[in-house]
């Protein structure tokens, strides 16, 4: 089947824009800088240099850099959305909702305890790229009022999790519900794309890696996993697995859960998390899951450089660059030895 012009355009743009990303060697050099100022001086890529040049020398901290990196991350995603058209634009509009999900998470966390939060604490998402009114949301009095704002949006299903969140004093049930809704909508949008099977497969693997992090992490911390069971149907649909697979994972011991994954299509993840599972370390699990998914999509993009797998690789690479830069900046501020910084 002939590929449409817009398809060819978006894939070529992804190739073009990928040259603006930091290469592994560049990140490695940044990692080896002696301090935060040297790190800033070396970060001369176009996307960052404009914001970094306005900073006063010697008076920069990792939190400020975090905001700058976050802005570049958002700008890149928005730019890619702007240049896309037709079904790709619809897909990108769904994909970019992960920023909205992140902001919603921050609002929920603050409102659970009635803490103050301002728009400065959120990722700056331009109007038109979010369905939520964050200007209003930051001013609501409690988490119940957040539920009121969720009602007319695609996240209305997550409202049911709010009473549970209140009863266990944690926003985790709502966060998981919002994420499940986000991925289900993203998968719906991906289904209408050309080479949709590969795209949905990548997205499912991303979702599974996050899901695995939550279930193993919660098992390590002996937290109740019942909050997942309420959404096991939606999670199973998102992952294209039977509900029993989800329930078995939730109810089994860590080693048994690893075996269950080994027998599934998500077996690639096991080698990245088995050490963390043995050590019962959430931090290692987090790194393992991120590294595993990074290898997974890099591998796919190499095998399919001329289709949507490459576009997704670009989008994920933008996110991973953001995470790597945050990691290096924080490590530099804390004076951590470069050898101890492990890039994703």
């Amino acid at each position: 089947m002939l590929k449409s012009a817009s398809y060819i355009f978006i894939v070529s743009r992804a190739h073009g824009l990928a040259t603006r990303l930091l290469k592994y060697d560049e990140l490695d050099s940044l990692k080896k800088t002696k301090d935060l100022q040297a790190f800033i001086d070396l970060l001369t890529k176009d996307d960052y240099v404009q914001s970094l040049s306005t900073l006063e020398r010697g008076k920069v901290d990792a939190a400020t850099l975090n905001k700058i990196f976050s802005k570049v991350y958002v700008d890149r995603l928005i730019y890619f959305t702007k240049i896309s058209s037709g079904k790709f634009r619809d897909f990108m509009m769904s994909y970019i909702k992960r920023l909205e999900v992140e902001n919603l998470r921050r609002v929920l966390r603050a409102k659970l305890r009635g803490r103050d939060i301002t728009l400065d604490d959120l990722i700056p998402i331009p109007r038109g790229y979010t369905v939520l009114n964050f200007q209003e949301l930051v001013n609501v009095a409690s988490i119940d009022d957040v539920a009121y704002h969720l009602a007319p949006t695609m996240y209305r299903g997550a409202q049911e999790a709010i009473p549970m969140a209140k009863s266990i004093n944690s926003t985790l049930p709502v966060e998981l519900a919002v994420e499940a809704v986000y991925f289900s909508k993203l998968l719906e949008a991906a289904n209408s794309l050309p080479s949709n099977k590969r795209v949905t497969d990548i997205l499912r693997n991303e979702y599974f890696s996050k899901f695995a992090y939550y279930i193993f992490g919660m098992k390590f911390l002996e937290a109740p996993l019942i909050i997942f069971e309420r959404y096991s149907g939606l999670i199973a649909r998102n992952l294209s697995v039977p509900v029993d697979f989800i329930n078995d994972l939730l109810r089994s011991r860590e080693d048994v859960a690893l075996n269950i994954i080994l027998r599934s299509r998500y077996r690639w993840l096991v080698k990245y998390i088995e050490d963390a599972v043995e050590r019962r370390s959430v931090n290692d699990l987090y790194r393992g899951v991120l590294k595993g998914f990074r290898s997974f999509h890099i591998d796919l993009s190499k095998r399919h450089p001329l289709d949507m797998a490459y576009v997704l690789w670009y989008l994920y690479s933008v996110e991973y660059e953001y995470m790597n830069l945050i990691q290096i900046a924080t490590a530099k501020e804390l004076g951590i030895d470069p050898e101890q910084i492990e890039l994703y």
Binding site: A62, A63, N66, K67, S70, R105, R106, R109, A110, L112, R113, R115, I117, D121, I168, N169, S170, T171, L172, E175, Y213, Y214, G217, M218, F220, L221, A223, S281, V282, N283, L285, Y286, R287, M323, I326, Q327, T330, A331, L334, I336, I341
Partner: protein, 200 residues
């Protein structure tokens, strides 16, 4: 009538001095008992002093984990995840045991580290809270040791002063008064006898 320590050598003064000596001896015994009790309490707590080293080691280990977690998730996520944690509420209780001030810290409301939705942050927060509780226990023990040691020093000084200075001086006083009374009785007897002999 002669006097010592401002006390005249009379029968009344002798009785008063004996009564006071008896009271001082009883007090000394009580203070000795307190000293022994405080010393044994101190010994009991001294064994727990090693907990500080252990707790400090754990703090450093947890700090390393915290740094790793902060590097992994970044400032923004760490701050956002920490927002769900309620403030810890404590109450300080002051007790007086044998005149020694002791303090205990009651955790009225622990910080809700269980609420943290980010599991990496939650893991570190859980460990920090455990280490914090251990350190708090160490601080309470150290405070008790300090109070007990200070009191032991004071009590031992009091017991020594009573045994070496006050009691001997009272014993001297009583002996002196007894001798003076004896002398006065003897001279009275001699004087009476002399008068009787002269009349006879």
């Amino acid at each position: 009538m002669s006097s010592i320590m401002g006390v005249s050598a009379s029968r009344g003064a002798l009785l008063e001095a004996r009564k006071q000596l008896q009271f001082i001896k009883k007090s000394t015994e009580i203070l000795e008992m307190k000293r022994d009790k405080v010393a044994s309490e101190l010994n009991k707590y001294l064994g727990q002093l090693g907990k500080r080293e252990e707790a400090e080691k754990k703090i450093m280990e947890t700090y390393t984990k915290f740094v790793k977690a902060l590097v992994n998730v970044g400032h923004e996520e760490f701050t956002s995840a920490s927002m769900v944690v309620s403030k810890m509420k404590t109450r300080l209780h002051r007790h007086l045991v044998m005149g020694i001030e002791e303090y205990d810290v009651e955790i009225v409301e622990p910080p809700s580290v269980e609420s943290i939705p980010n599991l990496v942050v939650k893991e570190v927060a859980n460990e920090f809270y455990k280490v914090f509780m251990e350190m708090l226990e160490v601080a309470i023990i150290e405070n008790k040791i300090e109070a007990l040691a200070y009191d032991l020093m004071n009590t031992a000084r009091k017991v020594n002063a009573l045994q070496k200075i006050i009691i001997p001086s009272y014993q001297d006083l009583i002996r002196y008064i007894e001798e003076r009374i004896m002398e006065e009785e003897l001279s009275e007897f001699v004087r009476t006898k002399f008068i009787v002999d002269k009349k006879g």
